[in-house]
């Protein structure tokens, strides 16, 4: 048992990290292998000339539009940014309008998935110990709050899966597993930080589940981590960001 724990805490960390990075690289390579560059087309006659960006400091007239929304938001954000009518219209066409809460929770959840483990003080101490350098760290209090937020976002997804009819209609056992295994490292990390429960056991589950997630990412639907960018940036569609330079 002690040997097993040592293995999980030592070599297995490196193995899972290697599988994670290598697997993702292979996935990206596969994507480029099975897609090809789109044949260049001529410039369409109806294309409009490229808009010149307006000089930064010019005082734009507040765009006409929804008084309660664009103008109010612009007034608040005055010194920072200004949302134009067009940008607002584009935003209204996204899930931020159809499902503002789900969209917001999704964004926060995915951001925290990266921010917490990468910038956690305890992780960085371990990384410094092993590699001699580390990433900047968040304060422990902030990281703790973020973890709670992330767990709340995760629970939101879980509750959606259970109670919203349309989500339930397509949910499989695998979806629950993927969601729960993704949340486990964060939950156990939270427990460990507060020294709740049997510390060695909690820590073991923490490390074990995190390694499992890392290994699972390249080979399961979790690899939407890279495919989100590959699909939405590189394959042209109504919802792609930009023109889309590749086709299947």
């Amino acid at each position: 048992m002690a040997l097993f724990v040592e293995f999980i805490k030592g070599p297995m960390v490196w193995i899972s990290s290697a599988v994670f990075l290598g697997g993702l690289l292979v996935q990206v390579w596969r994507f480029f292998a099975i897609t090809r560059k789109k044949k260049p087309l001529y410039q369409p006659a109806a294309a409009k000339p490229k808009e010149k960006k307006p000089a930064k400091k010019t005082k734009q007239k507040v765009p006409s539009g929804d008084k309660l929304t664009i103008e109010a938001i612009n007034r608040r954000l005055q010194p920072l940014i200004r949302i134009t009518d067009k940008q607002w219209n584009n935003l209204e066409n996204t899930i931020f309008r159809t499902h503002p809460i789900v969209a917001l929770v999704t964004v926060v959840f995915h951001l925290l998935l990266f921010i917490i483990p990468l910038f956690l003080l305890a992780h960085n101490e371990l990384i410094r110990g092993a590699l001699g350098f580390s990433l900047p760290s968040l304060s422990e209090r902030l990281a703790d709050t973020m973890t709670v937020v992330l767990l709340m976002c995760g629970s939101f997804f879980l509750l959606r899966r259970i109670f919203v009819r349309r989500v339930r209609a397509i949910t499989t056992a695998w979806d629950y597993f993927i969601l729960l295994i993704t949340l486990t490292p964060f939950f156990t990390g939270f427990l460990a930080f507060h020294q709740w429960g049997d510390y060695p056991t909690v820590m073991l589950i923490h490390i074990l589940s995190a390694e499992l997630v890392l290994i699972l990412i390249p080979f399961t639907k979790l690899n939407h981590m890279v495919y989100f960018f590959l699909y939405r940036l590189l394959i042209g569609s109504e919802y792609s960001f930009g023109q889309g330079k590749r086709v299947w």
Binding site: A46, K50, N89, N93, E238, Q243
Partner: protein
């Protein structure tokens, strides 16, 4: 597919402003595929109109519904039960759809929210090109699948004019390929050049350049 383009907002607003309750009807057929009159555009137009009338201080209610096709009686069940509640109908279908709706609900004023542009295909996302002028007498079998009526600037029917440039482009617009040059090249590659010798009687064509259209939200993608 029929390609259409949204009318300017002000024009639409002017048409429907005398009415208190307007139903904005989308079409799940061609105009949805060409990104002009599907559910998303219906929602967008409804928002824009509501905002526009809100700014004008006019109390006009606009509701929305998208049906499979506006050119076929089989899809009007839900709509039949709804129109009585509205003073006017706004259709985001092609000209045929608008007329179908107008014929079906003859007591209601029906307004087009789109300009029907042409029959064409998707060149890329949001970018469409005219390929058929629905002339009613198809010659594509003899012209290697390239329509001289649509793709020749002069709709010439018996070979190119003298304006074909040495690189095979059209004298009217250098970005356009000469249709007859293309027809010749393709027929030659298929060993069917004899077809080009056939003389076809003249017709009266309306002189028009081949049309293409990029839907407004996609214009940035193809900016020069």
């Amino acid at each position: 597919m029929i390609v259409a383009e949204k009318k300017p907002l002000v024009e639409i607003a002017e048409m429907v402003k005398p009415y208190k309750k307007v139903l904005n009807i989308g079409c799940g057929g061609c105009t949805s595929i060409c990104l002009a009159g599907g559910q998303k555009e219906v929602a967008e137009l409804t928002r824009e109109l509501t905002r526009e009338f809100g700014n004008r201080g006019a109390e006009i209610q606009i509701h929305e519904l998208t049906i499979e096709r506006q050119c076929n009686a089989g899809f009007f069940d839900i709509l039949d039960g709804m129109v009585a509640d509205y003073d006017a109908l706004l259709s985001m279908a092609c000209g045929a759809g608008v007329q179908f709706v107008a014929d079906r609900y003859q007591s209601k004023p029906v307004f087009p929210a789109l300009n029907t542009s042409f029959v064409g295909f998707d060149k890329d996302v949001g970018w469409f090109e005219e390929n058929c002028r629905t002339c009613g007498d198809c010659v594509l079998g003899e012209t290697a699948g390239i329509c001289p009526v649509t793709r020749c600037a002069k709709s010439l029917f018996n070979g190119p004019c003298g304006g074909t440039r040495s690189d095979g482009s059209c004298e009217v617009d250098t970005d356009t390929r000469c249709a007859w040059y293309e027809i010749h090249q393709r027929l030659k590659s298929q060993n069917r050049l004899d077809l080009i010798m056939k003389v076809r009687p003249a017709r009266e064509w309306v002189n028009q350049m081949r049309r293409s259209l990029i839907q407004e939200p996609y214009k940035d993608r193809y900016a020069k």
